[in-house]
Amino acid sequence: MGEQLPAGWEARWDQQNQAYIYTEQSTGQQQWEVPTQPSFPSQDQSSAPPPPAAAPSGKAGRRQYPTAQLQSMYTAQPGSFEYQNQGQQPQQPQHQQQQPAYGDASLSSAAPSFFTPGMAGGDAGAGAQGGAAYPQQPMQQPQGGQFQQYGGGAPVDQMSNQFNQMNMAGGAGGYTGGAPGAGGFEQKQLHAINTINLIGMQPDVRGLEAPPPPYLIPQSASVTQSPYNQPDPSYQRCTLTTMPATQSLLNKSKLPLALVMAPYRSVREADGDMPVPVVEDNVIARCRRCRAYINPFVTFIEGGNRWKCCLCGLSNEVPQLFDWDQAEGKPADRWARKELNHSVVEFIAPTEYMVRPPQPPVYAFVIDVSQAAVQSGMVATAAQTILENLGNLPNADNRTKVAFIGVSTSLHFFSLPPGATEASMLVVSDLTDVFLPKPVDLLVNLTESRTAIESFLARLPEMFSDSFTVGNALGSALQAAHQLIGKIGGKIIALTASLPTLGEGALKARDDPKLLGTSKESSLLTSASSFYKSFAIECSKAQVAVDMFLFSATYTDVASLSCLPRYTAGQTYLYPGFNASRPEDAIKFGTEFGKVLSQPLGLEAVIRVRASRGIRMSAFHGNFFIRSTDLLALPVVPLDQSYVIELQLEDDLKGPVVVLQTAILHTTCYGERRIRVITQAMPVTDTVGELYGSADQVAIATYLANKAVEKSMNGSLDDARNVVTNALSSMLSVYKNQVTSSAGASAQLAIPDNLKLLPLLACGLVKHVGLREGASIPPDLRSYAQCLLTTLPSQSLISYIHPRFYSLHNMPPDAGTIGEHGVILPPTLNLTSERLERHGLFLIEDSQNIFLWVGHEAVPRLVQDVFDLPSYADLVGGKFTLPVLDNPFNQRVNAIVAKTRELRRGVYRPHLYVVKSDAEPALRSWALSLLIEDRMDGMGSYAQYLTTVKGKVNG
């Protein structure tokens, strides 16, 4: 280390870490990386042009922060809890005094002054550098872009915006330590500073929205250094943003290594999502050996004539069309190619990628028409929704085909010949050997038979309105649907309101309440009949996906029925106690069903993940069929479904950077074969500390949710909860012993800053309805919760595990109004009933349900303003539709509810429940069970959970 340091820097040997630490004398900023730039006084840095080395960098330049501000943020951050508490606690007394006003928070005046230093710092720093380094791309670089989506797309109120920003500024700054142009691995610095003690601290729940730690790849790794060379975390994120060099290091660290991905994610313009760039010209450059697609991380060699694959190192020829535009007949700029600039691209695949000509989208509706279904109004609502959405079905080239099958004790087929105005019904009552009563006109072209379909759907409810048949031959109907569409492939949408009791795949009501809460309960969570697995395999082979919409008021055996969607890449939807005469139920089902119908489909898809040599995909979680060791088959890719893929290291990783590439080959619903490629590059490390500094708590929580659900099916629910808790405690124990190097028992529970909410998420997971201890959860609800835990993308999953909690009666004045990024949400609160006030109005939402909690001392004016009812006593708990009234408070509450409903990707439209704090005990305890920091029957509070974990760490 005898080299000359730039001016203004000082090197000091750090005994504990056995490395030199470099201190910038003017600011006191410290870093491990050898400084390459002379020291700048911090105020100059924001105005001066960035150091030359930083200029071409996509990321490093972005992440640097004026160092003095960095320091101030570090000092400010631990204190932020106090700010938050100070900011909110004073409200309570204040509000008891000014009761009738119930309204406006005391935050507004105080908050900005608390956060001014952080905000000013963040803004000034980001702004100045954004301007200097990338004047033309103000906020779409990975860092800012992510923030924009997380903080901005989901607007929280100003205070929490600032808070986020501060968090991000602190986090990002910590990673690079302001090392200009180094682009190296400086995470160590973060650990040294950002070890946090969990015991006795209230978790800061806003951190859940923060982006994952950045991928600190050297700038030279990317050929174009485009700001889009890493995927948005909503497409793909890894539990560790730094790859361990060896499997033994990974084992030693006890951290999970897995990819969490939602490759077919919806694009929401409102959130600032960028549409996936499409490479139109049929030039697909792939490595000859490992078949990887060309991406921003390849290197060009031999004067640019060949490219070296970043996965296997083979040199390949560069296609001539990279430099020659055939359409225009002039030289082309290869550096402008989308596949070299974007981590997420779509290629239009030529015929070599097709087994057969692109198939049309095909829908087969299997509708339960037994008495239970007709009486609940499901048939009428479903028919109405399909009728309304006929125009929205993906049908760009008029090839879409549909078929309808009604099922009760016999199968009802509907012949819908083109041009006819009436449908004719054909009944088949042979359930054992299913046959189609007619070779044609059962599966019909949507456009050609539109009139017949419309008149059929309009008449469907009344056709069976006097049906008294009890019994449901769902299995046979599914087989019939499979016969109908199996030659083409497509989607079967099954809507059933009763347990299938006849024909193939008949099920029994096996929900013995005596089993609940025992170790045998997990048998209720696995399939009772092998039919649903073997039929799923048949479907997958024939490129048929099955979506299940389940409505039963009694036991429907979700565990067995959800097998079909699980292995055919469909989705299960459950509407317990559905009754269409309640408008809330009808609207919820209608909206979600409508969204499912109008979703664009990716048909006949396969997903394969390729990675640098040494990395192997070892296990897969999600809804698909594993067709070979690394190939996932999805007959239809639904939008916004998440998959988790565990990784293993077979060999030591040699290079400084590894690349993971997900390719999803699919046929779009308008007849184009496409390949969506998502490429992600990660640095490699050989220290445990860096692994911990780069761990992504949201991805780890998603991984743990999948792992726990898998365990609950193969073992018991107890085992499943232990998977979560043991994973957490072994991580913390390794962190304590090897990173903070404190031996022996301690009263503290140390955790790196970037994982500080993982214990809370783990606590939420073990208390989640899918895994919770207790004998009171119906197996259907548990199974459904487990389906959601394994399929929801991280964005929704995190709030499903850790609900959001707002206080509405004293929200800041701007909450519920339209801000810069849409409706401003109130600040999120910690999930503890300490926050509940007897006179207050609170909102708890877990992305599937919204609860409006009304305190029993709520003043009549509050009740009048929000619910249009004279007093609290007149209020009835349960599903509710908020009236829209002519007063600002009502409109703000309505705006917040509406915003909450469309906050996340996915089809779900949460129910709104009104919960009275002193009535309807079942509903009340359901809402309270979402407050996961509290004790609930049999399960300890968050603090107790931490004590358990601490015991394991010390013990």
Binding site: F625, I626, S628, T629
Partner: protein, 137 residues
Amino acid sequence: MGGEGWLFLFSVLMAAVLLFTMVFFIIMFSDLECDYINPIDLCNKLNQFVLPEMIAHAFLTLCFLLSGQWLAFLLNAPLVGYNVNKIMSKNHMYDATEIFRTLSGHKKESFIKLGFYLVSFFYYLYRMILALISGTS
């Protein structure tokens, strides 16, 4: 050649057949790992052989029991018990949806069975020769 000789000659042949079945299973599993066969075909193929293998083995054990070959019977009884247990809990068939998760377990089981059949093959051979020698002398 007495009854014992015939019995062990039959056992040697059966053990050889079972041995080959296991080799076949192991080859199929490694084919699956190398992506030469898809899990659906694999399971359809292997599931045809699961029950015959178990029945053949159980039949052999029954023969030992009836002919009073206690040592040979005791050698085989645990495996029969294991197989019966598997059938009772209905997880004796290979499941294409789970095969990749359980593959390492299946392979291990097949290897252990292979070793077991190999040992018993030589044991039967030895007993057969003993019986032949004692029959001729």
